[in-house]
C-alpha cells in the first residue's frame, strides 16, 4: 500500500523526513519497499501576465506571447496551447527551471526537463507557460492553466498554490503490509503507529456522528439475511450532488498513491477508504428498486455484471447485495454496473459494512478478482469503523459535490462488537523477549496503539488488556507480547555473550554422511555437480518414467501439478536423467567436449509403496552420473578417447567402495526406447540402479553431440545397504607374504568374464584374496570364435603358504573353469 507523506501530515506532525519516516516504519514492522519523490517544489515557476498572444508566423498551432513576470522587460514565450489569450494570469516556468514532465513515450512516467532559451520555428522563447500536467497538478493537457485574475505578478507559483492548500511536492511511501496488520492499511492506521513511535498526538478529522434513524430510514431500508457474514451495515444518503471532477488537492493525493481520479463521488469513497481503512460503496440511489437493500447469499451459478462491465459467474456462497428486484453488488468486492454512480447521478446512497473475512476471501479467490475493498475486508476491517467512515464521506460529498445530507443513518447491526479482553503477564513478556523492559513501558506502548490496559493482579503483575476493534488479529497473550516487542524495537533486545547449548547429542544420518562423502569423491575424480529443475513437461516425464531407472521402477504414474506455471513445467521428474541430458546438450552446444556430471535429487512417482510418506506418492532420492564425450581429451601424447561403459562402471565401483560396500554385480538388461543397451547394478540380489547407453533418438532430442552414458542409482537403497558398512572396521593385516599366480584360459568369445570371476572367487575360498583380469585377447593365436582371458590371483593366509597348497587351489580353479565354462588352459 502506498501512502502520501503530505496526506499523513494531516493527521500527525511527526517531524520526520520521508526517509527517516520510512526507516522508523520499517523497524516497527511496516516494511517500506520504496520511497519516491513526487513532483518538485516548482522553484522558478512564477506568475505571469499574458500581455499579448499573436499567431506564430511559421506555425499554425503556435502563438507568440509577451508575458510580464515582474521583470523590466516582458518575456517572449512561444506557446502551443489553444486557450492562451492576452490578459490571462498564468504559471511561467522561467529559463533554468526543472520540471518533471510526462514522458512522450509513456505519459505515466515523468522525466526531468530543464527550461532553456530557444528558438522555436524561428521565434525566440524564454520559458514555458504551463499546463496542469506539466506542473504535476493533474493529468490535464488540453490547455494552459489559467490562474485567478488577482494572482500577483512575479510571485512564486508555489505560494499561490499553498494559499489554496495545494502542495506540489510529495513522497509516496510504498509499504508492504503483512497479513496480520489490517489496522495499517490506511493513512490513519499508519499515523497510529507513527504516534506510538514518536509520542506525537494523532489529529483525526472532525466528524459529527449521526444517530441511527431519521429521514433516511423512510427513503431506504436495509435487511441482512446472512447475519453471520455481515455483522453490520451502515447507510447514509446525500441528495442533489453535482457529478464533477474532484478538487485538485484530492486528485493529487489519489494520484500520489496510485489511484486514478474518476469523479468527485467515487473519489471521495476511495479517499475515505485510504484515510481510515473502511471500504465504502456509493450507489446511485435512484437506481435502487423498491427502496431497499438486502444482504444475502447468491443463487448458485447465477451471473452478475460488475461495474467494470464484466459478466461474472458467481461462486457458491458468494455474499451479494440486492435491491428489491435484483443483485446490485458483490459484497465487499465490487459493485454492479446497474447501480453505479454516473454523470447523471444526483442522489447517492453510501454503504459502509463489515463482511466476514473468510467469505470475502473465498469469493474473491473464486472470481480471481482482488480489489482495494476485498483486500481490506479479507484481512478484517475495524468492527466499529462504519458509522464514522460513512459520515465522513457524506460530509465530504456535501462540501465538495454540493449535496444535501439526508438526516439520520441506517445502522443494521445484528452482531454487536464485543472487545476481547486478554490477560498479559509482565514476566511472560520478559521470558519471550529476553530483554529487560519496565512494566510501565509495556503499558505505555500498548496504550499508544489503542489498547486498554488495567491491572488485574499485582504480584505477579498481570494486566487485563482490552483489544481495540481495529485489531482483529490480536486475541492471545503472545499477540500482545509481539506488539510490545515491535514497538520496543527488536534492535534494543540485547544479545547474550554466550550461547546456550543443551546437553543433547546431534546425530549424523547415514544418507547425509554418505551423500556428502560421495560429493567429495565424485568431484575429486572429475565430475561436476549440477542442480536441475524438478519440473518438466508431462510428455518428457512420461518418457523417462522408465522401468530401467529407479523412479520408473516403482511402476507408478507421473506426478502432475494442478496449477503449473507453464506446460513446460507441469510434471515432477521421475528421474534426474532428463535434467542432466539437457545440461549435457547445452554444454555440448557451447563447445564442451568432455561432459562428466552428477546430481543428487529427489524423484517422484504416484504410487503407494513402503517409502510413501504423504498421500499415495513415493519420493526417493537418486544419484545420477552422466558422461558424454571425451573421457580423455586431446593431448600431445595421443588421440582423445570417448567415454565407454568401462569408464562409467569404474566410477560406479568407486561410488560403492566409498560407501564401504563391495563393488556391485552388473547384469545385462534389455534395450528400451531410452537405452540402446544397459546393465542392472546389483548388490547381492538387491537392485540398486542401472547403467545405460542413451538411445540415439533420445540423445538426438537433447542435442547430444557424443554418445551418452548414464547411471542412476537408487540412493535411498544404497544408503540403507551401506548403513552397516559406512564405518570401517579394522582387520589385522597379514604379516605373511602373498603369492601371485596367473592363469590364462581360452573360452568361447561369447562367454562373459563376470561369472568366471565369481566362479574363481567361489572356488578360491579363503586363500584367494583378489582376482583381476589383466589380459583379454582375441585373434589368430586362440582360434576363431574364441578369446583368451588372463586372470591375476593373489593368495594369502595368516601363515606362509606352501607351493603345494597354492598349486592345489590353482588346479581346482582350473578344473572349475574347464567344467563350467568349457575353458582350456592357454599353453
Amino acid at each position: 500500500m502506498i501512502i502520501s507523506t503530505n496526506w499523513l501530515d494531516d493527521y500527525i506532525a511527526h517531524g520526520l523526513s520521508a526517509d527517516e519516516l520510512a526507516d522508523r516504519l520499517t523497524m516497527c514492522g511496516l516494511e517500506v519497499e520504496s520511497v519516491d519523490r513526487i513532483g518538485t517544489d516548482l522553484e522558478g515557476v512564477v506568475i505571469g501576465h499574458v500581455l499579448s498572444a499573436e499567431q506564430h508566423p511559421n506555425a499554425d498551432r503556435l502563438s507568440v506571447c509577451k508575458v510580464d513576470t515582474g521583470m523590466n522587460t516582458p518575456l517572449d514565450i512561444v506557446c502551443g496551447a489553444p486557450n492562451v489569450a492576452a490578459g490571462q494570469k498564468v504559471a511561467v516556468a522561467t529559463v533554468g527551471t526543472t520540471l518533471h514532465l510526462p514522458s512522450r513515450d509513456n505519459p505515466e512516467q515523468r522525466v526531468p526537463v530543464t527550461m532553456k532559451k530557444a528558438k522555436i520555428r524561428g521565434e525566440v522563447s524564454e520559458g514555458m507557460i504551463c499546463a496542469e500536467d506539466e506542473l504535476g497538478l493533474g493529468d490535464d493537457h488540453d490547455g494552459i492553466l489559467v490562474l485567478d485574475t488577482d494572482a500577483a505578478i512575479g510571485t512564486a507559483f508555489s505560494d499561490y498554490l499553498s494559499a489554496k492548500g495545494i502542495r506540489t511536492m510529495d513522497h509516496a511511501i510504498d509499504i508492504s503490509i503483512t497479513p496480520n496488520r489490517p489496522d495499517a492499511i490506511s493513512h490513519l492506521g499508519i499515523a497510529r503507529d507513527v504516534s506510538a513511535l514518536t509520542g506525537k498526538e494523532i489529529c483525526r478529522p472532525a466528524v459529527a456522528l449521526t444517530e441511527a434513524g431519521g429521514s433516511v430510514t423512510s427513503k431506504m431500508s436495509v435487511t441482512i439475511e446472512a447475519e453471520d457474514l455481515c455483522r453490520r451495515f451502515v447507510g447514509i444518503m446525500v441528495e442533489g450532488v453535482e457529478i464533477k471532477e474532484s478538487p485538485t488537492w484530492m486528485k493529487q493525493r489519489l494520484l500520489a498513491i496510485g489511484l486514478r481520479p474518476r469523479n468527485v463521488i467515487v473519489d471521495i469513497t476511495n479517499y475515505v477508504m485510504y484515510e481510515c481503512g473502511q471500504p465504502l460503496h456509493a450507489y446511485d440511489a435512484d437506481t435502487l428498486n423498491g427502496h431497499c437493500i438486502v444482504v444475502a447469499k447468491a443463487k448458485v451459478g447465477s451471473t452478475f455484471t460488475t461495474l467494470d462491465s464484466k459478466e461474472r459467474t458467481l461462486p457458491e456462497d458468494a455474499l451479494m447485495i440486492r435491491d428489491g428486484e435484483r443483485e446490485i453488488g458483490i459484497a465487499g468486492i465490487m459493485g454492479g454496473e446497474n447501480t453505479e454512480v454516473t454523470d447523471n447521478t444526483t442522489n447517492v446512497f453510501i454503504e459502509a459494512a463489515w463482511f466476514d473475512p473468510s467469505s470475502i476471501r473465498r469469493t474473491a479467490k473464486a472470481l480471481a478478482l482482488q480489489t482495494d475493498a476485498s483486500y481490506r475486508f479479507e484481512r478484517g476491517v475495524d468492527a466499529e469503523g462504519q458509522a464514522w467512515a460513512a459520515k465522513r464521506a457524506a460530509d465530504l460529498m456535501v462540501e465538495l459535490a454540493g449535496g444535501t445530507l439526508v438526516d439520520g443513518m441506517i445502522d443494521v447491526h445484528p452482531v454487536p462488537y464485543e472487545a476481547p479482553v486478554v490477560p498479559l503477564r509482565a514476566q511472560r513478556v520478559l521470558d519471550i523477549m529476553g530483554a529487560d523492559i519496565a512494566p510501565s513501558e509495556m503499558v505505555r506502548l500498548l496504550e499508544a496503539i489503542g489498547f486498554g490496559v488495567t491491572e488485574k493482579q499485582a504480584d505477579p503483575l498481570v494486566w487485563d488488556v482490552t483489544v481495540p476493534s481495529f485489531r482483529p488479529d490480536v486475541g492471545r497473550e503472545i499477540d500482545l507480547i509481539e506488539e510490545v516487542a515491535r514497538l520496543f524495537g527488536y534492535d534494543n533486545i540485547p544479545e547474550p555473550t554466550h550461547s546456550r547449548i543443551p546437553n543433547f547429542t546431534p546425530g549424523m544420518a547415514v544418507d547425509r554422511q554418505l551423500r556428502e562423502r560421495l560429493r567429495d569423491v565424485l568431484s575429486g575424480i572429475g565430475f561436476r555437480e549440477t542442480y536441475t529443475n524438478s519440473m518438466l513437461p508431462i510428455e518428457t516425464a512420461e518418457r523417462f518414467n522408465d522401468p530401467a531407472l529407479p523412479g520408473g521402477r516403482f511402476g507408478g504414474d507421473v506426478v502432475e501439478t494442478m496449477n503449473p506455471i507453464t506446460t513446460e513445467m507441469a510434471a515432477l521428474r521421475p528421474s534426474l536423467l532428463p535434467g542432466l541430458l539437457k545440461v549435457a546438450g547445452h554444454n555440448h552446444n557451447h563447445g564442451q567436449q568432455a561432459i562428466r556430471l552428477f546430481e543428487f535429487g529427489r524423484v517422484h512417482t504416484k504410487r503407494n509403496t513402503n517409502r510413501t510418506l504423504v498421500g499415495d506418492y513415493t519420493e526417493t532420492e537418486t544419484l545420477m552420473l552422466l558422461t558424454s564425450g571425451y573421457w580423455q581429451g586431446q593431448y600431445w601424447e595421443g588421440e582423445p578417447r570417448e567415454a565407454d561403459l568401462f569408464d562409467l562402471k569404474g566410477v560406479v565401483d568407486r561410488v560403492f567402495r566409498a560407501t564401504g560396500l563391495e563393488v556391485p554385480r552388473y547384469k545385462e538388461r534389455e534395450a528400451s526406447n531410452l537405452a540402446s543397451w544397459g546393465v542392472d547394478i546389483l548388490l547381492g540380489k538387491r537392485w540398486i540402479g542401472s547403467l545405460i547407453r542413451i538411445s540415439d533418438a533420445v540423445a538426438g532430442d537433447f542435442t547430444l553431440r557424443h554418445d551418452g552414458l548414464a547411471a542412476e542409482i537408487d540412493f535411498t537403497a544404497l544408503a540403507e545397504a551401506a548403513a552397516g558398512a559406512i564405518r570401517p572396521r579394522y582387520q589385522a593385516i597379514s604379516r605373511f607374504p602373498v603369492v601371485e599366480r596367473d592363469i590364462a584360459v581360452i573360452v568361447p568369445a561369447s562367454q562373459p568374464a563376470g561369472p568366471m570371476i565369481e566362479a574363481i572367487e567361489r572356488t578360491g575360498g579363503d586363500l584367494l584374496k583378489q582376482v583381476t583380469v589383466f589380459d583379454l585377447y582375441e585373434g589368430d593365436h586362440v582360434g576363431k570364435d574364441h578369446k583368451s582371458l588372463a586372470f591375476g590371483l593373489r593368495l594369502g593366509a595368516d601363515r606362509t603358504l606352501r607351493d603345494k597348497e597354492v598349486d592345489k587351489v590353482m588346479t581346482r580353479i582350473l578344473k572349475t573353469l574347464e567344467k563350467e565354462f568349457d575353458a582350456k588352459l592357454r599353453g
Binding site: 497479513p179 496480520n180 533486545i493 555437480e529 494442478m562 562428466r596 517422484h604 498421500g615
Partner: protein, 352 residues
C-alpha cells in the same frame, strides 16, 4: 643308447659354451632389451638356460655335477646382469637426464566441482552443526496439514497467499490437500511430532531442502529453491538467544564486522516474527550500500507447539529459515538465480 646320450651331453656342454659370449656381452640399455634377455634365457617355455637344465639327465652321470654347476653359474650371471641393468636404467631415467621438453603440459587430471548451492549449504549447516544442531530432512511432496495448518495458517487466511503454492491434489481430499512444500518448515512439525512420540524437548535441529513457489521466473526468483530451516525448543529460550545465534551465523558467513538488523515481520508459525537484514556495502549506491534481507525468524507460535503436544508454558522456542540461493548469490556475487540451474560448465568450473 650310450652314443646318443654322449652326443647329447656334448651338445649340451657345447651349447652352454656358445651362450657365454651373449650372456656376458649382450647390450641391456632399454626396457625391451632387458625383457627380451630375460625371456631368452629364463622363460619357462623358451628360456635357453631353462632348456639346458632340462637336458641334465642326458649328461653322463660323472659329468653332471660339473655341467650343473656351469649352468647355475651361467644362470647367476644372467640374473646379476638383469638386476644391474634394471637398476642402471631406473637411475638414468630418474636422475641423470631430464625429459626432452619439460615445458610440455602435464597430463591433465579431469576437473570436478561442487555446485555453489552445495557449497553454500555446507557452510550454513556447518555453522549450526558447530552450535549443536542436528540435521533433519523431509519430503518435498507434502500435505496441507504439515505445510500450512499445523504451522498455524488458518484456512481461508490471506497468510496463505504469502507463498504461492503448487497443488497436486485438491484441499477437498481426505488428507486436506497435497502440494509441493513451499518452505522447509513442515519438517519442523515432522521432527517435533517424531520426538514427542516418546520424548520431550530439547529439540535442536536444522533442515536443509528443496522448496517450490509458483512464481514467475525472473533473475531474482525461480520456481524452486533451497532453504535451511532451524528450530530450537527448550526451557527458557528467548528472542535474545535467537539474535545471538543468528548474529554468530552472519559473522561466520559475512565477516566479523557484519552489520545486521532485526525488523518485525509476520509469519503465521512464529510470534513475535522478524526479518533479518545485513548491510551490503556498495559504493555505487547512495549511502554506501543497502540493507539486504537474508532470513526470516521468530519465536515459535504457542499454537504450533501445542499442536504437536508440547507444553507452550513450559517450553519456548525459536525458528528461522533462509534461502540458500540468496546466501550463495550474495557470497559469490551471482546476480541471476537462473544461472544456478543452467549448469553451464563455464559457470560450474568457477567453483572447482
Amino acid at each position: 643308447m650310450e652314443s646318443s646320450s654322449h652326443t647329447g651331453a656334448d651338445a649340451a656342454v657345447q651349447a652352454l659354451e656358445d651362450l657365454k659370449t651373449d650372456i656376458e656381452g649382450a647390450v641391456l640399455d632399454t626396457v625391451d632389451a632387458i625383457d627380451e634377455y630375460r625371456i631368452r634365457y629364463l622363460s619357462r617355455k623358451q628360456g635357453r638356460i631353462t632348456a639346458l637344465m632340462k637336458r641334465i639327465p642326458d649328461v653322463a652321470p660323472e659329468d653332471r655335477r660339473a655341467f650343473g654347476q656351469a649352468i647355475n653359474s651361467a644362470k647367476d650371471t644372467v640374473e646379476r646382469r638383469l638386476e644391474e641393468a634394471t637398476a642402471a636404467l631406473t637411475t638414468a631415467a630418474s636422475a641423470t637426464s631430464a625429459p626432452a621438453d619439460v615445458t610440455l603440459p602435464g597430463r591433465e587430471q579431469p576437473q570436478g566441482s561442487l555446485h555453489p548451492i552445495t557449497q553454500a549449504a555446507r557452510l550454513i549447516t556447518r555453522v549450526f552443526e558447530n552450535y549443536g544442531f542436528d540435521v533433519a530432512e523431509g519430503p518435498e511432496i507434502e500435505d496441507d496439514w504439515h505445510n500450512f495448518t499445523a504451522l498455524n495458517f488458518p484456512p481461508d487466511h490471506p497468510a496463505r497467499d504469502m507463498q504461492d503454492t503448487f497443488f497436486i491434489e485438491d484441499a477437498e481430499q481426505e488428507h486436506g490437500g497435497i502440494l509441493l512444500r513451499t518452505h522447509t518448515s513442515p519438517v519442523q512439525i515432522r521432527v517435533m511430532e517424531d520426538i514427542m512420540k516418546d520424548g520431550e524437548p530439547p529439540i535442536r535441529v536444522i533442515v536443509p531442502g528443496r522448496v517450490y513457489r509458483n512464481e514467475a521466473i525472473s533473475y531474482k526468483s525461480y520456481c524452486l529453491f533451497h532453504q535451511v530451516e532451524g528450530l530450537y525448543v527448550d526451557e527458557g529460550v528467548t528472542m535474545a538467544d535467537l539474535k545471538q545465534i543468528l548474529h554468530a551465523f552472519a559473522r561466520t558467513l559475512f565477516g566479523e564486522d557484519v552489520r545486521m538488523r532485526f525488523r518485525p515481520s509476520f509469519f503465521p508459525f512464529t510470534e513475535p516474527s522478524a526479518e533479518v537484514d545485513i548491510w551490503w556495502k556498495d559504493e555505487n549506491l547512495p549511502g554506501g550500500g543497502r540493507w539486504m534481507e537474508i532470513l526470516g525468524c521468530g519465536m515459535v507460535d504457542p499454537n504450533v507447539l501445542e499442536g504437536v503436544g508440547i507444553d507452550s508454558e513450559k517450553y519456548t522456542g525459536y525458528a528461522f529459515g533462509m534461502g540458500i540461493e540468496r546466501i550463495a548469490m550474495l557470497r559469490y556475487g551471482i546476480d541471476d538465480i537462473r544461472i544456478l540451474y543452467e549448469n553451464d560448465v563455464r559457470f560450474l568450473e568457477q567453483f572447482s
